[in-house]
Amino acid sequence: MINVFKGYKGRALSTLKEFQMRVWGDAVIKTTRGEFSGIILPRSENDDDYHIVLKLKTGYNVGIDVNTITDMQEVGYREAHYKIPEKDFPFSPDKPRVKLFGTGGTIASRLDYRTGAVIPAFSPGELYGAVPELADICNLETEKLFAVFSENMGPKEYMKLAVAIGDEIARGVDGIVIGHGTDTLHHTAAALSYMIQKSPVPIVLVGSQRSSDRPSSDAALNLIHATTTASRCEIAEVMVCMFGPTSDEYALLHQGTRVRKMHSSYRSTFRTIGDTPLAMVTRDKFTYLKNDFNRRRKDRHVEIKPYFEEKVAMVYYYPNMMPDIIYSLIDNGYKGIVIAGTGLGHVNKPLYPAIRKCFELKIPVYMTVQTLWGYVHMFVYDTGRDLMSSGVIPTGNMLPEVAYIKLGWALGQSSDPATVKEIMLNPVCHDITEKEPYNGYLIYQGGIPEVEEFIRKFHK
């Protein structure tokens, strides 16, 4: 695509050519609906092919239907160039060293007001320009490891990240922060929980639910909470740090193996499932909610285990699922399967032969629950017992996504079903817990008088 026609195609493109107009041109356009003047902006590639986008003097954008255009004149030309203002990140010898890894999600950004494009801010200088409070918390170093959207994060990235974190710990940083898109943040958190063990410092994953070009964004506060945690928190675990309530009040620190994104758009989307979060964090303090965690240490010992078998699948069971789904996984060379079963961990009878086939072929099949909360209990009903006898292995209260990541990690280390089983069922970072606390399952229902009273008093 030639730059002067950025994003234009079809009729709109030929109209621009016909009148010898270009993007960023200051244009006067005569149409059957009257005259419009402004700067021609690039057009989004996915939009239709018969409108030209114009930025009016008032700052508003409008589209002009090319079928109404009778004449166009270029009376000037103003191309936009934007750069993030960079300020030196102030160094204070008495503050902790924090390393921020970028994976591609936008942590902070500035806006190009003419195109609406979001320019990411990432270098310490850029971040300092966007969130000056960071300088009061730590000495920040940054490194962009890759630039992928959250949904494109995968095993290669997990392993590269784990190795890079190991190196930084060895170099002596006081904490790690990883900026990440939120959609698969919990997958990465689980992967790092397995690949980095016995870390002496906090490893904090953070994202934002409202992009940082908005005044009401949660990005800055999340970053402040995450760097505060990396700098001073006692918990040396892989954690997700995101808004507790939707209000700008505190963040929750979630164990990397027990956390899940639970709402498509709320700020408080991340929740610890089947347990309580590790801690609450504000700008000023930590409130520890649990005692049972690895503590920060002075030494630099850490175990990095960057293994992953990519041919692992997760199957979300639904009524009337046919065995061909499982057979096709077998045929395509999958080496392990995690099923998210109904209720206590069930699938229908027609699937049994396929599952037995997996067992014969030494393809391990692990059972988790769709209900997310609660344990797989395969002894309660005959169906469960039948499944177990077919070789399905229950995984306690491991979350389905976590079981998927763990199986990939286990199969990356061994193809022997017995060894894999040992790895899978050996609890790591509370991915399987011996008990579910009574307050580990709380989903309040609106409308109930006492809940409404609670919500009136406390921010949700």
Partner: protein
Amino acid sequence: MSREFDPKQNYESSCQKTGYVTRDKATTKTYRELGFKCGLEVHQQLATREKLFCRCPVGIYQDFADFDAEVIRHMRPTLSEMGTYDGTALMEFKTRKNITYRIKNETTCTYEVDDTPPFPINREALAYAVRIALLLQCNIVGELHITRKQYLDGSIPTGFQRTAIVGIDGEMPVGKKKIRIIQLSVEEDACREVSDHRHERIYTTDRLGIPLIETVTYPDMMTPEEAEAAGQYIRFLNRSSGLVRKGSGAGREDVNVSITGGTRVEIKGVSHISWIPALTHNEAFRQKALLLIRDELVKRIPKPEDWKPVFKRLNFDVSDIQYPPIKQAVENGWQLIAVNLPQFRGILSFFTQPGKTFASEIEGRLKVIACLELPNMVHSEDLQPVFDENMLKKRSRLLGCTEQDAQIVFWAPEEDVACAMYTIEERCRMALAEVPNETRKALPDGTTIFERVLPGADRMYPDTDSAPIPISDDYIEELRQQLPKELALRLQQLADWNIPADTHHYLLRNNLIPLLEKIITDFGIEPVFLASLLAHRLKHIEGRQQAAAGFDYKLIYDLFRKTAERKVNYNLLPELLPILYEHPQLDFDSLLHLAGFKKTTMEKLLGEVPGLAAIFRNIKRSRNPLAAERWIMGNLRAVARGNVDFNLLQQEVRKILSQLPKDES
């Protein structure tokens, strides 16, 4: 500071220097000499059922103390704004306002609290907006682009308002002039403010998201009266469409004023059009005064960049001071800071608005930017000095000030001191340079106070959450077919009907001319009678009490229809109307019954005349030959009402009386 300085006298002489006159003494020439220019931004809620970007209902308002939940947010300026704002936005951010939203479940969903992206735009609202843009002769855009307009005051939880241009470059006739329209946009309404105290601002989200149109005019109005007339025109035009919400707060104006050498200042929250003249008049003179202050300061301070105020913490005991705000501040353990403003003598008491001086410019900013509630300072040109002689001496020694200077003492908690000092210095520096670009809040007395720094030009950007919406020629044509008659033609119609001017406002405000036209055409009603029935009789009734549920102006047409069908004389209508207003569900017979109507004929009525004349002869006291006729008519009228025309009846009565034997006495 010299003790001979008389702040009151200085206020008056500076007022004179500014050339301030009250509005009744101002003429077109006054405004021409000032270079007065005014433009309007008229906001009008649309009468849709649902909000603009979510499906919450509109028009349900909560009591401020009644809410189901609260959410707290903070607004952070985006990078570019920090860059362009010389630190004001950053300073404002650092002082941190906690913004609390009070939510009612009925009127608020996750969209209002910015926890879900927008749903598709309300098509009903879009159609209404296009129709009104057509009434204003605007060029309709080919494609609607939802744009974000940033607001950092928290009035919208996202930090921006979603808005889109529907049409540009319209015009409207106001008096003999054409006023040009810059644009008409459709946008979401903001939250209602509950309170704003120190660092806590509270809003309700009930009004948030209601579809609005904003009509923006060019600064074509050259006098305050013209601005008012233009405001009225837009209001009546909106009403004439029948597509807009009525009631308090449904229509609001922002007024932009500038004078030669001044700057565009936006006056917000003008809730009555009748406020416009006083507000714009005073703003013009405020700008003039600020320019005079600038000229004076530039003379005194040849190198503005070297000018520097002195700030010192008070180092003497002020526990004797009885002035309550300072007493309270001392009790709270707040800091008391003395400020010396070199070369500012006579500036703090310089006139800016009726009853206000330059000091209030500083006070207003301290309130908004540093979050210090009023009163937040005292100064050397106060009318009522707070410090005694001894303290003043100590203060002067502390600051090392001279006779040419002015002094301020303000009080603030430690965490707000830096921002307050910054604010004072910044405002004084601006005084040396220009009339600051700002948004001011309208007060009922016609003056204004500082509301916020005017956002930069770069605060608009595309809404990445929504796709552009094409507006086709066919769609526009379809909407054009539904347009009401042009307002200018309506005004001509009123003139043609000889309808008295005092009824126009009421008829336009309530969009009653279409009803008037229909009744006049269908039933041949005399226009003046009808206009008076509505704009006098009905208006009077409305002023006394609220209409019963179910009352609608459309019922008046039905009332005329039934009256005509039943051959009831229209002179019963002034009696029927209040009954209908109170009991809109009653059928016509019941209305007649309650109005005391009984069917009778002219013959029967006239048959009573000789008897009544005989009675009158016995009781008469007047020598006026018409007294008998008047008295008899008075007795007949109540019965005749609805049955016969009074004029006709009177003629007949007169005829009969003339035929009766003459009175001997």
